[in-house]
Symmetry: D2
Subunit: 333 residues, 4 copies
Amino acid sequence: MIVVLKPNVAAEKQERLIDWLKSLSLNVNVSQGEFQTVLGLVGDTSTVDTSLLESLEIVDTVKRVTDPFKRANRKFHPEDTVIDVNGVKIGGGNFCIMAGPCSVEYEEQIIGIAKAVKASGAQILRGGAFKPRTSPYDFQGLKKEGLRLLSLAKKETGLPIISEVMNITDLPLFDDVDILQVGARNTQNFDLLKELGKVGKPILLKRGIAGTLKELLMSAEYIMSSGNEKVILCERGIRTYSDYMRNTLDLAAVPMLHELSHLPVIVDPSHATGIARMVTPMALAGTACGADGLEVEVHHDPEHALSDGAQSLRPKDFDTLVRKVTAIRNAIV
Amino acid sequence: MIVVLKPNVAAEKQERLIDWLKSLSLNVNVSQGEFQTVLGLVGDTSTVDTSLLESLEIVDTVKRVTDPFKRANRKFHPEDTVIDVNGVKIGGGNFCIMAGPCSVEYEEQIIGIAKAVKASGAQILRGGAFKPRTSPYDFQGLKKEGLRLLSLAKKETGLPIISEVMNITDLPLFDDVDILQVGARNTQNFDLLKELGKVGKPILLKRGIAGTLKELLMSAEYIMSSGNEKVILCERGIRTYSDYMRNTLDLAAVPMLHELSHLPVIVDPSHATGIARMVTPMALAGTACGADGLEVEVHHDPEHALSDGAQSLRPKDFDTLVRKVTAIRNAIV
Amino acid sequence: MIVVLKPNVAAEKQERLIDWLKSLSLNVNVSQGEFQTVLGLVGDTSTVDTSLLESLEIVDTVKRVTDPFKRANRKFHPEDTVIDVNGVKIGGGNFCIMAGPCSVEYEEQIIGIAKAVKASGAQILRGGAFKPRTSPYDFQGLKKEGLRLLSLAKKETGLPIISEVMNITDLPLFDDVDILQVGARNTQNFDLLKELGKVGKPILLKRGIAGTLKELLMSAEYIMSSGNEKVILCERGIRTYSDYMRNTLDLAAVPMLHELSHLPVIVDPSHATGIARMVTPMALAGTACGADGLEVEVHHDPEHALSDGAQSLRPKDFDTLVRKVTAIRNAIV
Amino acid sequence: MIVVLKPNVAAEKQERLIDWLKSLSLNVNVSQGEFQTVLGLVGDTSTVDTSLLESLEIVDTVKRVTDPFKRANRKFHPEDTVIDVNGVKIGGGNFCIMAGPCSVEYEEQIIGIAKAVKASGAQILRGGAFKPRTSPYDFQGLKKEGLRLLSLAKKETGLPIISEVMNITDLPLFDDVDILQVGARNTQNFDLLKELGKVGKPILLKRGIAGTLKELLMSAEYIMSSGNEKVILCERGIRTYSDYMRNTLDLAAVPMLHELSHLPVIVDPSHATGIARMVTPMALAGTACGADGLEVEVHHDPEHALSDGAQSLRPKDFDTLVRKVTAIRNAIV
């Protein structure tokens, strides 16, 4: 960590600051410039509050040299993490497509869609049982019954399943779920993240509604530092002022997250745009810039879906998507 | 709700859409324009998925006529809500200052600060026991012990207390806390909101990190529709690209929320800027545009505070703030 | 245009509004709902100020049914526009790569880079002579001399050239330039746009620093309504709070602009990220989601470039980019 | 400027970088840390391209120690700048209200409004003659005739006048205008700024649509470094995702700009919100946090205004605003 002092600081004040920093078990390297003095702090700076330092009267600016995430950091783990979900591999050159309805609705629905997406090439079945909805008056998911139906579809098709968990107290219901998903509104629900760190299952962690990449990686760090290294990062669009679409899909996050971290990165083109006819182009773009997989909403009858019908692909359109994605994959590797 | 159809829609498709809308128990008012047909939907449209409607092939645009929040809506409750916290009134012309440290640290700290802010005119004592921190390596609060110390300070000074709750399972520990605070990262933690709807205490609900006003009011609606009408809204700055400060305090939200809702609206100038010397000007601005109160971080020794020291006022600066705020209140009423 | 009135409006006030609207040569279609009255305005609503209407005491909300851009609107021009630049075609299935240095610096530089990018497959040479820089103390371009050198490179290689024009008064210097570029800071410099509408050359119009798609299309409309239909739209990243990169490349804008407009859409992956090693993945992503071309910064010696060296590719990396882009093009068509 | 090198950089590469930096006439101060080496650059770093430095293979991060604006910087000019406009003082404790219609429309309109706002206490008359409109089909201002009418109103009332200039070539028409205004879409029209640096009149410089404070100050620097030190900064709201209002008024910019710069800072509450009934609360808030003045749109008949009627106050509401603003001013000084 680098601390730049203001010009012409009284020697005594400077000494007091250095003593305080040393009391935090840091080595302090003083570099006296022509106009300004620069302190280089060496040691475990992860506990130093940079904004407090910046607020001190004699301090001009403070800069962290090392990113505050460690376990998620590629610097310390140069090899790609590969996550195995009942034989399906994600990351490290393995591309994985997760697909299924936004919400599980009834038995024929989830089994029908599961069979369709499997036939097209999906390797994992998604389906929501607990739904975070902006309005308390909207459909909130089938909950326990939804998870039961999802299990049926897993048994029927052999596809591993992924579903969103919103609450620590619901965790026991997710026994048969293969990947636990953390939604964009819970990316910084730190108590939930800590609890997921004690679970031996892969976690798909979505970027927050307006989350930065650092925040996403720090949230991964919460899970990893609690004991669970199997984290899959997911770009799903961020909030901006852009018109005509729900969110702005930040695809440059894919190569940047790959540079910063060893964790797999997948793209959710459905929530990113909220519009079914934008899903395929964005899935192709995500594939082209190196994503390790996709999570796509598919519904056999979007007009009657209980949630997010507007962004769901029909099975035949999903089939086209998979064919084009495969062509892109072949073109870039 | 208004649904504008695309030009030259086949009569048959139009009929099918109208039938479907009627099947949702809505009355459909058809207005045939020169180029386009407009449907007016009358009835309980709160369950209609507008984005699904918009995605239909024959639909051009959809517009809600009524805001989707009801209990929080001033249209249906023209009178200001006034919330009583052990005799301290918030809303409806009653101005209330909440102050105290970001984190409760030790007995002398919280009692000392409590006495100081009370002497200056604060009516409610704030103090964090459970701290949502971006990094798992940062101080996470004293938890149960922090709440115990806060209770001591309440006994000592008579000030009602407010503290943040992050998790349903922690609720039993908050028995002696007078106002439960929901932080900006939990504004859309819907399970927590529902649970707080069953508690008979006032809830201070912060606007999300990048939350819209509608989202804030819908989150209030979660609490209210679960049975608890005592919600205090709090503007605390939103995420933008603006430089030099942590967040952008959106003060126009104060008069706009007052127009949209009957709930009290307070301003948190500390988290909004993250810089102690910006707290007083922003507190004055918030007061001038009609806020019903302020929540201000105060610490006797910001340089050694365990969290958010950079934005904490010293007691003597808080005293000045209260004096100036009072002058502004007198000037505008 | 749809105007929804507030509930229980006095009949007299409603009549006065309708009379006023009729005085604007509009037909007014009144649809009396159970609770609220809806007015449908038919005629040329492009001159109606929607925000003024919305501010009227008796009006609840106002919604435009038709986008306010006309000449740029695909509704009225379903066929893709194809722009011909000295035999190089852009749009309608024709993919075009423009490449070259951010700034023209000296003769050997621009000619060397021009030959290199041509050899790799670029069809148009870019080079800045007038540079909009945030700081008055930064290099502002070689200006007239830069354009002279660019012309030399054109003569030497046969590549058509594109360069940014910042100012009406500079236009006479651009005689030999084949495409005039409008930068992100000038997207709403309306006087410049009007002047470019009188020029018979293709205009490459960049999206504003924080521009919406509607604003981009309205700026295209300024050029087109002044007489020049040859407009190429360019997505180059928008300003957000995202960390680690300069801008957020909004690639979903590509398919959305194609839906809204018949104009060609290209992607600038260099300014979007500001980081050379992100340029190739973003160029591939842009290609995969259907862009009609790319504009890429290439420099033989980025470390000594006079501007934007950080985001410039070396010629050999550009060569790889073109090869991969071609593979993607082959995969998707 | 501080340059942090990556860990374990080859000595030879480090030497080559240092030599290159020295070739830019900089002194380089090397501080060898335990893990990483830090270079302190001393000298005129304003010409160093930080993003290029950051992109070098051996460089980890780069940080400027000094803000890149100089003439606008309070560090080098601790005293407030006071600008005198025909005897009306702005800045340094002098509060100034500018008011008038968005657009000049006809003689009785501008003279009537001018008399009304003068009677209420406005010291400067605003009125637009050249109007930057998003749509080419919207009213673009009376241009030369508008300036003539504004001059008439000046003669009639004695109020100095302010009007927006969009284009260098129009400058000769502004002879009688006392303050030249640069609108939010032209904040980075650098050629216009340079030209305004040669004019001996005060310039009111609005913050860009999505401008940062640094960009605003760098644009002020363009004017000042071209010879004109009389710059008034204006906060007018920035673009965000916030709903219900046009822009987000960033009032914390007021105290922050006062800290960073010696230039006067005024607030435009009309464009910030776009809604007349939000103008007064925001004017009061801006006053309370220390603005040096206000620019307010006033129209005698907003419903028939040719532009921005939705945000214009009626004269009697403006009168109330001035009274309340005066009360706030008295309360805080």
